[in-house]
Amino acid sequence: MRLLLFSQQCHNIDAKQYFCGQLTHSKDYRSMQTTLDEIIHKYKPGSREMLLPLLQDIQLEFGFLNEEAILRVGQHINLPSSKVYGIATFYDQFRFVQKGKFHIKVCCGTSCHMHGSSGILKEVERVLNIKEGQTTRDGRFSLEAVSCMGACGQAPVMNINGEFKTALTLQDIAKVIDDYRSSM
C-alpha cells in the first residue's frame, strides 16, 4: 500500500502536489529545498550510521518525508533511494503523508485497549471521516494509532499536538474534536 502511494507520489503530478503540499516551482518549493540542503549538509556524506538521524531531522522539520528528501538523502549517504525508502518504511516513526494542523495520536497500548481504546479510535475515525494514518482533505487533522504513550494510569488517552486528553469516553470525542475545529 505504502509502495503504491510512493509510486503515485513519483509519477502522478496531482498526487505529488497533494502529498507534498507544494507546487514544484513555487517559492515554497525553493525554500523547502534550501532547508533540506541545510539539514543534509550538517551530516557527513557517505556515512551509513547517520542515515536514521538525518531522516529524523528532516521529519522533525517538515513533519513527514517526501520524495525529494528521500532522493537527496540517498545521494548524500551514497545509498540507492529504494533502500533509503525501505529502511524508512521499516520504522514506525517515519511518515510519508503530510501531517494535519492538528495531529491526533490515539494510544492503543494494552492498558488503553482494556479501557476501550479501539472504540475511541473508531469513533475518531468516524468523526473525522478518515482512517488511521491519513490526513483530512482540508489538512486540518491527521490521525495516528501509537502502541503506548506511557500514560497507562490515565487510560484511555489521546494526544493532540502534544496536549493529552485523559480518561476519555466515546461521548467526549466529538466535543474534543469540535473544540479544536472551532479554535482555528
Partner: protein, 646 residues
C-alpha cells in the same frame, strides 16, 4: 557565582577524594546540596511524563503564581516519577526543620488552599500521601510515614531509590548523594577484571528479559582483543504498558550514566551508545542535559580526572520498532540499517557494533551497577533468591487499584505484588488474570499467583519475566480479545525476516478474528475453515516457537498459548456457543427488545444499518437475530433502556 563555587568544591574536594566527607562543615554543605536540610521552603512537583499527562505543568504554573502573589520565598524543584502514577500530580513540600510531606492529585485549583494551610503549619489531611522519615527533621503529627505505607512497605528500592525524590536536573544533587564517587573509585583502584568479578559475584542477571549473567557477558567482551569496543545501553522500551526505563531516565538519569561509565571501563570500551525511543522526548532531553553536565565536570571526555581514561557517550534516537529491543536488531539499527536480528553466534560480545566487541545491557541492569560497586557484591547477593539476585522493577497498569512502578526483591510472590502492594483490582471488581512480560508474556490466572518473581521459576510454568510489564485484568476482560490484541501487535511488529513469525503471527491473528466474528451469513465452507483454523492453532504456535530466530518469534505464541491453557472454557464458549461473557467481543453480542419497556419510538428502527428491527410506530419492536450484525447502535440510541444484551 554560588553555582561556580559548588562546582569547584565538588570537583576539588568530593570527586578528587581529598576532603573528609564526615567533617561537619563538609557534610552540612553536602546535605544542603541534596536538599536534606533546607534553609527556605522547597516545593517539589512530580514532572515525569505521567505527571505531565495528569497536568503537572498547570499545577507548576499555579504554584509559581501563588508564590509570587503571596511574596513567599520558596524553591521549586521538578522531580521525576515516584511510581504512583494514579496519584499524579504529586506535590511535596519541605519546610526548614520539618520532614518532607507529600500530597496526591494536586490539580491547579487545589494549590492555593493547600499551600495556605502548609505555610500556616496546618495539614490538609484529605490530600495527604505521607511524609518521609528523616532523623534530622521533626515529623508531622498524625501523618503516616511513606516507607510504612502498604505500597512501599514490601518494596525494596535500589534502582528507583531516588526516583521522584532527588532533583534529576542537577548533577550537584547526585554527587552530594555519593554519586560518581563509585565510578572514580573504580577507575582509580580497581582493574577491569576485578569489576567483572564483583558483578559476577553479585549474581546480577540481565533485566531485559534474557536473564544472561551480566558479569559473564562483560568478561567475554573484556577478554576479546580489539582496538575499539562499545557499550550499548538498551533503552528501546517499546512494550505497550512498560515504562520502567523511562521512569529511571527521567527520575535519576545520572544513576544510569554512572552505571554505563562503570560498565564501559570494565569491558574496556571508550565509546558508549544509549539507544532511546524517539517518542520519549523528555527522557531524551534529560539524558542530553545530564551528558552536557558530565562534560562540564570533566567526567566524560579525555583523561578523566587524570586517570588516563577516555570515555564518550552518544545518544541515539530510536525510530520506533518493537523488535529493536533484541540486541542484534538494535545494533543493526544504530548502524543505520533495518532493525532485523542476526543469528547468534557470533555473539555481540565478540562481534557486534561495526564488527567490534559490544556489550548490550538494559537500563535497569546498568542502574543496578553503582549500588553493587558501592556496597560490594555480598550486600546485593543477600537480596532475592539463588537463581536471581537483587530486585525487579514492574510497571503495573491495567485495572489495578494503583497504577505505577513497583520494585520488589526477586522471589516475591506475584500475589503479594497485586493484592498487598498495589491494593488489588479497582472499582471492587473480581480479579481475573495478570499478564506478565509484555506482549510476548503470559496471562496467569488466580491459582497461579503463588509463583515467585524470578527467571527459571516463571519459565518453568511457561511464563516469562520479560522486561517487567504487569497488566492486571478484571472480570470485564475477554481473554480471547486480549490474545487477539497481542497477536495483532506482534504481527505488526514482526520484522519479517523469519517466515514462521511473519506469516504465523498473522495467521493466528486471522484465526482469532474468525472466532470473534459474527457468523451471520457464513457458508458451510467458511464454518469448516473456521474450525480447521482452531484445530491448527496449537500446532501453528509450536512451529513459530521452534523455528524463529529471535526472542520476538520464539515467545510470540506465549499470550495465546497461556490464555488457551488457563482460560480454555472461554475459548470454547467463543467457538461453540458464539458468546462472549465479558461483552468485549462486540460482534458476538446478541440483543433483544424488552416488550414491556419498548414504547415504539422507532429510533432504533431508523438507525439500524441492516434493517434488522421490525415493528410499527407505538408498538413494541423486535430484532431479527439472523440479520443483526451486533453493532450496538440500537443499544446506544434507546432512551428507554428497552434494548438489552442477551
Amino acid at each position: 557565582m554560588q553555582e561556580m563555587d559548588e562546582k569547584q568544591f565538588l570537583i576539588d574536594k568530593v570527586l578528587s577524594a581529598k576532603a573528609n566527607l564526615d567533617q561537619k562543615d563538609t557534610s552540612e554543605l553536602l546535605s544542603l546540596m541534596r536538599h536534606d536540610t533546607v534553609n527556605k521552603p522547597v516545593v517539589y512537583i512530580g514532572s515525569g511524563t505521567c505527571g505531565k499527562v495528569a497536568s503537572a505543568d498547570e499545577t507548576l504554573e499555579a504554584i509559581k503564581r501563588y508564590l509570587q502573589e503571596k511574596n513567599q520565598e520558596a524553591e521549586i524543584v521538578q522531580v521525576g516519577c515516584i511510581g504512583l502514577c494514579s496519584f499524579e500530580p504529586i506535590m511535596d513540600i519541605q519546610l526548614p526543620g520539618k520532614a518532607r510531606i507529600s500530597f496526591r492529585n494536586v490539580t491547579q485549583e487545589k494549590v492555593e488552599p493547600l499551600l495556605d494551610d502548609i505555610f500556616n503549619s496546618e495539614v490538609p489531611y484529605e490530600l495527604i500521601l505521607g511524609q518521609f522519615k528523616s532523623a534530622r527533621h521533626n515529623a508531622w503529627d498524625k501523618v503516616p510515614f511513606m516507607n510504612e505505607l502498604p505500597v512501599f512497605k514490601l518494596q525494596h528500592r535500589i534502582v528507583l531509590a531516588n526516583c521522584g525524590i532527588c532533583n534529576p536536573d542537577s548533577l550537584t544533587d547526585y554527587i552530594a548523594r555519593g554519586g560518581y564517587q563509585t565510578y572514580l573509585k573504580c577507575i582509580r583502584n580497581y582493574t577491569p577484571e576485578k569489576i567483572c568479578g564483583i558483578v559476577e559475584q553479585s549474581g546480577l542477571r540481565g533485566r531485559g528479559g534474557g536473564g544472561y549473567p551480566t558479569g559473564e557477558k562483560w568478561l567475554t567482551a573484556h577478554n576479546v582483543v580489539s582496538d575499539q569496543k562499545y557499550l550499548v545501553c538498551n533503552a528501546a522500551e517499546s512494550d505497550p504498558g512498560a515504562f520502567m526505563d523511562r521512569a529511571v531516565i527521567e527520575g535519576d538519569p545520572h544513576l544510569l550514566l554512572e552505571g554505563i561509565a562503570i560498565a564501559s571501563f570494565a569491558i574496556g570500551a571508550t565509546k558508549a551508545y544509549i539507544y532511546v525511543m524517539d517518542e520519549y522526548s523528555q527522557a531524551y532531553f534529560m539524558l542530553d542535559q545530564a551528558l552536557s553536565q558530565l562534560k562540564e565536570y570533566g567526567l566524560t571526555g579525555y583523561n578523566i580526572f587524570d586517570s588516563g581514561i577516555d570515555f564518550k557517550i552518544t545518544l541515539v534516537r530510536g525510530p520506533g520498532a518493537f523488535v529493536c529491543g533484541e540486541e542484534t536488531a538494535l545494533i543493526n539499527s544504530i548502524e543505520g540499517k533495518r532493525g532485523m536480528p542476526k543469528p547468534k553466534p557470533p555473539f555481540p560480545a565478540i562481534e557486534g557494533l561495526f564488527g567490534k566487541p559490544t556489550v548490550v545491557n538494559n537500563v535497569e541492569t546498568l542502574a543496578n551497577i553503582p549500588y553493587i560497586l558501592r556496597h560490594g557484591p555480598s550486600r546485593f547477593n543477600e537480596i532475592g533468591i539463588p537463581e536471581a539476585r537483587g530486585t525487579k522493577v514492574f510497571a503495573v497498569s491495567g485495572k489495578a487499584m494503583i497504577t505505577g512502578l513497583v520494585e520488589v526483591p526477586m522471589g516475591t510472590k506475584i500475589r503479594d505484588i497485586i493484592f498487598k502492594i498495589i491494593g488489588g483490582v479497582k472499582d471492587g471488581k473480581d480479579f481475573k488474570a495478570v499478564q506478565i512480560g509484555g506482549p510476548s508474556g503470559s496471562c496467569l490466572p488466580e491459582n497461579q499467583l503463588d509463583l515467585t518473581v524470578g527467571y527459571e521459576s516463571l519459565w518453568n510454568e511457561g511464563a516469562i519475566l520479560g522486561s517487567g510489564g504487569m497488566i492486571v485484568m478484571d472480570e470485564d476482560t475477554c481473554m480471547v480479545d486480549i490474545a487477539k490484541f497481542f497477536m495483532n501487535f506482534l504481527q505488526k511488529e514482526s520484522c519479517g525476516k523469519c517466515i514462521p513469525c511473519r506469516e504465523g503471527t498473522r495467521r493466528i491473528h486471522e484465526i482469532l478474528e474468525n472466532i470473534t466474528r459474527r457468523p451471520t451469513g457464513e457458508s458451510g465452507f467458511e464454518v469448516l475453515e473456521r474450525f480447521k483454523g482452531i484445530m491448527q492453532l496449537a500446532d501453528l504456535a509450536e512451529v513459530i516457537r521452534d523455528t524463529s530466530l529471535c526472542g520476538l518469534g520464539q515467545t510470540a505464541p506465549n499470550p495465546l498459548m497461556s490464555a488457551m491453557k488457563w482460560f480454555r472454557e472461554e475459548f470454547e464458549e467463543h467457538v461453540f456457543d458464539r458468546k462472549c461473557k465479558a461483552g468485549v467481543c462486540k460482534e458476538l453480542r446478541l440483543f433483544y427488545i424488552d416488550v414491556d419497556k419498548c414504547t415504539g419510538c422507532v429510533a432504533c428502527l431508523r438507525k439500524c444499518p441492516v434493517n434488522a428491527i421490525v415493528g410499527q410506530p407505538r408498538q413494541p419492536h423486535f430484532i431479527i437475530e439472523e440479520k443483526c450484525i451486533g453493532c450496538g447502535i440500537c443499544f446506544d440510541v434507546c432512551k428507554f433502556v428497552a434494548v438489552k444484551l442477551k
